[in-house]
Amino acid sequence: MAAGNAVGGHRTLNKTDSPFVPVSHRALAVRTGTRNAYFDRNEGAPLMVRKTHPEPGYPTAGNGILSRRIFLEGALVVGATGAGLSCASAEPLAVQPWMKVPGPGFAGYGQPSLFESKVVKVFPPPPSPATQGVGASRTPLHLLEGMITPSGLHFERSHSGIPDIDPDQHRLVIHGLVKRPLVFTLEALSRYPMQSRIAFIECAGNSQALNAPQAQPLNVSAIHGLLGCSEWTGVRLSTLLDEAGVEPEARWVIAEGADAAAMSRSIPLAKAMDDALVCLYQNGERVRPSNGYPVRLLLPGFEGNMNVKWLRRLKLTAGPAMTKDETSKYTIVLKDEKAWQFVFPIEVKSFITRPSPGLALTGPGFYEISGLAWSGNGSIRQVEVSADGGRSWAPAALQGPILPKAPVRFRAAWQWNGGPAVLQSRATDDTGMVQPTRAQFAAERGLRGVYHYNAVASWRIDEMGEASNVYA
């Protein structure tokens, strides 16, 4: 696969009889061929460009990746890129009916346009009516933009449905190795000084379909849809732990939810005292029931399962509880018989949301390659994109703000010549960790681990403009 696609782009450049390649593109293709070795390692602050970059609209990597200066200067040269959809005149404009009568009035809680009804979470039907709310619903990330996930579209993972919790009845208790066991009402939690931060939550099982030996015909939400990002607001957990008085022998905090499964995980005390947040708000409103109403734990950068929803209890202990989810589930079976346990951070990762399966290209010309990059260990420093299956790379523009443990939207300009292409993105975080290739990922740990899959993902674009999941 890799070899075929690595040369595929260049073969296409010579395929002058292709009906998908207009004459103007053949001219560009020649230039692409001469510049495809250009490889930019220069990255400082995002949206800063070194003088040696090529002109806007010119290729910086093979198979049509253009300079990101397009995003900085808006300097598309239509003649050079052939970006227009059509040269024919548009239809005459008519006055639409909604301009002729008043529209409806107000609503207490706004809803998306009726025309956006396809932008919904996806989830399999429950195995039986008795087990609704078990498993996961997935965010349609390919249909969204920016870095924030709308709360109603944030993915869900629950183990025994979504509890309907009366906030007046809910309590959070802190006990175990503390000087003063304490119980908090919602009203009490609401009185503390609050903090907001924008942070991703990603299920450790996200992208696990890419462990499969053969690439499956899946789209963005089916592969990568267990990722969301919100502005979370709440009380620092360290504030509450300080009030309870942590005993010196405490090393772990067992966090437990108020769902029917009483989902629980052991969390290192160091993380709890560092940046853990007891969240009451998500994107400005109270946390949604599916995301933990009325209180959820946020452990920025740590695997989703540890960000316990419907938080009711925090027990300080000397050792971990070895709960079901931290032994039998969220552990990673390696190439030998051993398994990694307590795999906390989501390591550096990215994928392309557009183009992607189901979002067919409509014909040769200019396209923005858009995607998300994130790291549970810090901030994204650089994202590179490739259109030739990783043979050549060019830096993408990073859309600010760039925040630690939050996704960054990246964008790259692409001149599709109508031939086969394999689109990839590769992120680097500010610890210097680079997203591995699938081969590098498999060489370290094998492909039996299920969880924490973060290797470079690939979309193949065929000559009809359709995208599909491939291994490249």
Binding site: P127, S128, A130, T131, V134, G135, H159, S160, V173, I174, H175, R180, P181, L182, V183, F184, T185, A188, L189, R191, P193, T239, D242, E243, A244, E256, A260, A261, A262, M263, S264, A270, K271, R312, R313, K315, T317, G319, A321, M322, T323, K324, T327, S328, T331, I332, V333, D336, E337, K338, A339, W340, Q341, F342, V343, F344, P345, E347, N377, R448
Partner: protein, 179 residues
């Protein structure tokens, strides 16, 4: 109009305000450990938290058939629900190049986890409904199906933590956690 007196009042108010800020807000309500007991369902791998009670695999079979089998299948080997997963079997499937079948017998490192999880989350439709004796018995039944305890072995707060799980040494720490 400001006077010296009003300025003095302002200054003293500020002084009081900053003194108040120096004290962290404390809105937690003290609670006695005995009053937390109903919520404290965590069981450590050392057995801390296990309740009084006892049970054997022989006693556990009827509980399993009545409360578990609908999803987990007969004798825990043929789950009727993919999410429920098999509870029994898979021994040897962690070997290199095999597809791991992770069950209580082949993968779980601690028997206490089984008791803890069944107590907090099972049976699915009525979690937290089994008595301590029933929990020990059904745990013994699942362990017995995996060949880990005998059918008449008594499980209780003393014996359960001593059950040696086959994959007890199967886990190593992730090398790249934050310090």
């Amino acid at each position: 109009m400001f006077t010296l007196k009003s300025i003095a009042v302002c200054i003293s108010t500020l002084t009081i305000a900053s003194a108040a800020l120096a004290q962290a807000p404390q809105f937690g309500q003290p609670i006695a450990p005995a009053d937390i007991a109903a919520w404290d369902i965590s069981i450590g791998p050392d057995g801390v938290g296990l309740p009084p009670g006892r049970g054997t695999a022989i006693e556990g079979e009827a509980i399993y058939v009545a409360s578990c089998q609908a999803c987990h299948g007969e004798k825990g080997t043929r789950p009727n629900d993919a999410l429920a997963g098999a509870l029994v079997g898979g021994m040897g499937t962690l070997a290199p190049d095999k597809i791991p079948m992770k069950t209580v017998g082949s993968f779980w490192p601690y028997a206490t986890t089984l008791f803890d999880y069944v107590r907090r989350a099972m049976p699915f439709q009525e979690s937290k409904s089994l008595t301590a004796d029933e929990l020990y018995a059904v745990s013994a039944y699942i362990l017995n199906l995996n060949g880990i305890v005998g059918s008449n072995d008594v499980l209780d707060a003393q014996s359960l933590p001593k059950v040696r799980m086959p994959n007890r040494n199967g886990f190593i720490p992730f090398p790249r956690n934050p310090k």
